[in-house]
């Protein structure tokens, strides 16, 4: 599927949650400040029926399940509006592909694992700094329980005029972030070297889980999803050839026989970058777009030379292997509050197009990764930079 607009824009992961969204679920009472934030951001984003939300939030505590559901829906509305209005000063503000910014999920691991049979939560494990995930152990063969994303997808689709997409955490990531108890026990008595046993257990779990996720994706497509992003932040975790092949194999298994535009997002590889995945990743034949993080490793200076655009070196891998489909290019580093200039973002986009030699309509532009760790003000500014950088890049190309 080809988009005819040069440098289409998209959100790639999560958006921050406002305190009025999180506190009711933590049994914490809302304070006047929380409601004030809802009022100010709601007005700023032009959220419809804002008064209904404000009236609801004034209850402050002891929200019923139905009231919490409405709070989550409003939170999705705020997230959608943030994406649609980012870069409000531009000729064409907003992003082209939008979603509900993880507002209806606990986060990208806990929500799917809570909704797939076979897992038991163990406790929190640190990912980096003060960020944790609640690790689960697989205790039996995973089985489908329900389509855990279709309500949020339907809500997004019904409340945006843009193209709606739906990110789905892939099997590789769920396996990498889980304890493999059931599968380790299945493989422990085989006469294989320890690393081979671990890989065999991982592979079996990945492919069985891919079958479960495939059913979730199939149901989303039946409900009208056309743009499905498989989130695979753990694609570069294990760094062996077998594991790189497994990323593609799991992608193919998840999307087998299904008709939609499928993309894969990954981020934060080890020191030597995404090279560990090549060329095996390109065997993910159903993938129309690989969306990776690059800005994290780039300089903040504007410019189109390789020295300034050092973070984008790995894009050459795609060209080197003759890749001709779409790419998603991370142009804003998300683990800092420091904002790049529009000029730097523009040049990151133009450089990506230059080194890949792909048509500009095949270069999608996004933040590096989810923005959930940023304050709303910073996240909104970063989305605005994505939109503004893309607009300037389009103008620069037009000028040529």
């Amino acid at each position: 599927m080809t988009d005819h607009k040069a440098f289409p824009t998209q959100e790639i992961g999560s958006l921050p949650k406002f305190s009025w969204r999180t506190k009711p679920f933590r049994q914490q009472p809302l304070e006047e400040g929380d409601i004030g934030v809802a009022r100010a951001w709601g007005r700023r984003l032009g959220v419809k029926n804002l008064e209904l939300l404000l009236r609801l939030l004034k209850k402050r505590s002891e929200f019923t399940d139905e009231e919490k559901r409405r709070i989550v829906e409003f939170s999705m509305l705020f997230a959608i509006a943030m994406q649609e209005k980012a870069g409000g000063h531009l000729d064409e503000p907003g992003l082209d592909l939008v979603w509900s910014g993880e507002q209806a999920r606990t986060e990208m691991y806990e929500t799917p694992v809570s909704n797939i049979q076979g897992f038991e939560f163990l406790g929190r494990v640190r990912s980096f700094d003060n960020k944790y995930w609640r690790e689960a152990s697989v205790r039996q063969k995973p089985a489908y329980l329900r389509d855990y994303h279709f309500e949020e997808f339907l809500y997004t689709k019904g409340h945006t005029s843009r193209r709606a997409k739906i990110p789905v955490t892939d099997a590789i990531t769920i396996v990498a972030w889980s304890d493999h108890y059931y599968y380790t026990r299945r493989w422990r008595k085989r006469s294989l070297p320890p690393a081979a046993k671990r890989f065999s257990a991982r592979r079996e779990m990945t492919l069985e889980l891919a079958g479960v996720i495939r059913r979730v994706v199939r149901d989303l497509i039946r409900r009208g999803a056309r743009e499905i992003q498989l989130d695979s932040p753990a694609a570069t975790q294990y760094q062996t050839v077998e594991d790189a092949k497994l990323v593609a194999e799991a992608f193919n298994e998840t999307t087998r026989g299904l008709d939609a535009t499928f993309s894969l997002h990954s981020c934060f590889p080890p020191k030597y970058g995404y090279g560990v995945l090549f060329p095996h990743l390109l065997e993910a034949k159903n993938c129309s777009r690989f969306s990776f993080e690059y800005a994290n490793r780039d300089s903040y200076a504007a410019g189109l030379d390789g020295g300034r655009r050092v973070g984008y070196e790995d894009l050459k891998l795609f060209r080197g292997y003759g890749y001709e489909k779409q790419l998603g290019v991370g142009v804003v580093h998300v683990h800092t509050d420091r904002l790049p200039t529009v000029g730097a973002v523009r040049d990151r986009i133009l450089y990506a197009q230059k080194v890949t030699d792909l048509p500009p309509e095949n270069i999608f532009v996004n933040p590096d990764c989810g923005l959930r760790t940023r304050k709303p003000e910073v996240a909104y500014a970063m989305l605005g930079l994505v939109a503004a950088g893309a607009e300037e890049a389009r103008e620069a190309l037009g000028g040529n």
Binding site: V125, F128, E135, W177, D179, T184, Q239, P270, K271, Y272
Partner: protein
Amino acid sequence: MQRSLNFDFVSDGLLTMHWQDILRPFTTRVKGVKKGAMVRWFNTNTFYFTPVVAGELLSDGTAVSRTLDPSLVRSGAITKVVLPDPLTFVELAENSCYTSREGLIFAYCDNVLRPEVEHLSKMGIEYVQFSAPAVVARFRGEPLPRAELEQAGEGLRTVLKGVKVKSGYHTFFGDAAPYLPALLDLIPTDDFGFDFTETDPASLGSGEGLIAGVADSRSSYVESPGELAQRMGGLGERFRRITLAPSCDLQYVPRSVADSKLRNLATARLRLTGK
């Protein structure tokens, strides 16, 4: 927890807010280093900020001690500190100052590790462990050149010379067998540590001090004391001094699992030694 289990050396578990990854004191508190990109820590779901070596390395010796909880240091509760070994630092750093990796290895040893270890010793730290995953967990599968192991050994001799601390060199995330016995010959630490989930104990030969990484820090399965003791095989006859330990940092499992693993290590020791 560690004290109640009568551990010989007690570390702070890298749990203070300042010590978010093992490289952080060096990326934020050593002259010549800037905080770079966020990068995946080997084959885990944890991350570190790249130390970008943009100028001559220089430490006043307090980068690590300022990272520890001062009250725990003053009271003598902490007796062990874990530091990145020279080869891991060099592998993960981005070097735009020194003309060679060798130059960076020696600069890190002479200008950073030496003053840090000296200062820690004066504060009362009794044991320094150099964590060395990069020696055995090789990116792109390329083996570590023997010359770099020699350089690290020479550098660490300078670091430890005349300083009153015991020391260990712990490898994990990979198989150390290809580097044996060179590792034992070239690195001047008192003890050598191995991740038993990766390195077959049969390949270890014999020696003085062994840190036996018998508890799997990457799995939430809690081994029984009997299983842990069994993993020691006949090593008691081949090494003069053995420390039972997790295979690597316990940050990869939930805290309750980590605590259970430590308790079972203590019980395994009791079974093996009677104390």
